[in-house]
Symmetry: C2
Subunit: 398 residues, 2 copies
Amino acid sequence: MHTLDTLLYLTLIIVAARAGGEIAERFHQPAVLGEIAAGVALGLIPAIRLATGSEAIVFIAEIGVILLLFEVGLESEFGEYVRVGTAASLVAVIGVVLPLFIGAGATLLLGCRPHEALFLGATLTATSVGVTARVMRDLRLSQSKEAKIVIGAAVVDDILGLLVLSVVLAVAGGTAVRAGGVVLAAVVSIVFLVGGIAIGIRGAPFLIELTRRMRGRGILTVSAFALALALAYLSGLIGLAPIVGAFAAGLVLASTRDRVRITEQIQPVADIFAPVFFATVGMQVDLTRLSPALPDNWPILGLALVLLAVAIPTKLLAGSGAIRQRVDKLAIGIAMVPRGEVGLIFATIGLQREILSRGLYGAIVLVVLITTLITPPWLKHRLSRTRGRAREAASSEE
Amino acid sequence: MHTLDTLLYLTLIIVAARAGGEIAERFHQPAVLGEIAAGVALGLIPAIRLATGSEAIVFIAEIGVILLLFEVGLESEFGEYVRVGTAASLVAVIGVVLPLFIGAGATLLLGCRPHEALFLGATLTATSVGVTARVMRDLRLSQSKEAKIVIGAAVVDDILGLLVLSVVLAVAGGTAVRAGGVVLAAVVSIVFLVGGIAIGIRGAPFLIELTRRMRGRGILTVSAFALALALAYLSGLIGLAPIVGAFAAGLVLASTRDRVRITEQIQPVADIFAPVFFATVGMQVDLTRLSPALPDNWPILGLALVLLAVAIPTKLLAGSGAIRQRVDKLAIGIAMVPRGEVGLIFATIGLQREILSRGLYGAIVLVVLITTLITPPWLKHRLSRTRGRAREAASSEE
């Protein structure tokens, strides 16, 4: 695609996403809902759908979600995640095991072939850390304990998802599952994350000191951005989502004394690019292929309903893993529901490896869309009720 | 190119550009010199040179230079450019006519074919508004009258270059030069620029008022960025450089009361992306093809020397066009010397249309590189001398 065309598409996507976000906020909904919906609407225009195939647009969107998770990391403290570590891990494990087995079992009963059923179950294990983080931010709840557990769980979920995907691909490909390989992948991920953050927190003050000795304009911004990109790349290299590395980079810099300045400088960049990401998630949905007016689509729509009936309750149950924490477990479960971009990535791999047919892929995309779109308003509704009660209780105690 | 590879390349380019800029500043040189040099160094590594072909990297670089010119516009007032309009136009006209005819004549005498000679002359007419704007900013002289004349002249130069290119391509292609078409292109460009800015300055307060009524985070930043992209796109659509439109967008928003806030918010984004542009300009130079150690390269190097002998003095003379202004005319001439990205674009078109051979293309690239690299230190040297004297004169008067 020519640079000039890309300029046009990027402008349209940015304007549409912003308009969608604004409309959502007028209806007291999180902006991210409007951004995704704007993407779905843009996707109805075939010429604009083409932009989802543009290397440059895909990359700009990736930079957007990288910066979003980098910001979430910057606003956090590593210790907060350690404190909710057990709860977050348990939420993640339940949220992976239940959808995998129940999803595979249900689709097997419906007549899917074993490989298909296993892969469909695997796609239901994903949690969209991007959507979840944005909803929490839109609701100004990034600092709540629920948010820490959900984001921690989404990161663990990404590690587990990586392992599930490698096992399922091996099974589907007919190759032996090398237990050693799976264990190694798990160990590498955990060492990268925990080790990287631990080393990073010790090393970050030196990096900051180095930038203070340099003279150029914007050196702090550029260094912080480069660190986020570098860790995102390394994270992707070992098979995790790049955003997990960006989140780690944020956590590392959150421990430095320039945290506030970095946050201020990165914010405008994230404000511009993050909505592009959510719009492109919406744009990947081809609604015309999912119209219930065409009887040809009914089997797929039926399958999507079954998948939804598995996808939503299993993640709600996962919230019960938040043990020994004074938190709203149902809210945690709701926040784990959106499959977002992670579900789309899984489904796309399945399509490329010819494990999923176009029809099954369409069903998964519909599940991703619905779980992603219902979460923002649902979570807002749930949290405003419980927060409201907590506030009432607090004021009656006074 | 895979998103993950692009992440790696972008990180390397950002880090190398920043390091190059830092080294340049340690030697009291403008940072942009180091950024371009870092790009030339990166270009020596074949695997990284590949990145110059990445649609995403090219686009990020374009966003960088768009934001740079957007910022330059934001820091200016339209009236300032109107006041130096005659001087800037005269500088531009001299700076196009002299290199075109002397360049074509000299290369014709050297035995180039007429079409080649005409095209080589045309590539010497370009002035890199990007490099010039950055050098002025690096020297903290963006607000000087010299800077206004040079940037005004570079914009006029872009319009003239568009016309020269269309005429030269028609001649080289053997088609008749349609005078009507050339006049139309000129009129469209001028109407777009002057009309667009005039309408924009009247319309901008309403746009700002609209953003004030919206609620989302970063709405002002996103709107300003979208306007810069949209005008850059329109500018490219009518055949001008996209950065000319971005500059116009900056001028438009400079008249609004949110000018300072927009500048603050856009600055971090420009700090991150603009150096990517200058590094990629350097990366496009393949030094290994220009080594004087290989006798095969001697004819090209000889031609490059002749082109340089035309390219530099003719632009220095163009400075004398700054009539009726109390300015340093030599400094203006020096600032017009760099061909930068505009020269590369011209040369690439010549190569694609098979008007220039690989050898002639190599000679042009060398001229672009040298004129771009000598300008920052030369201009700094010149201006520090004259500014120093002016300061001495001012203090002795006290």
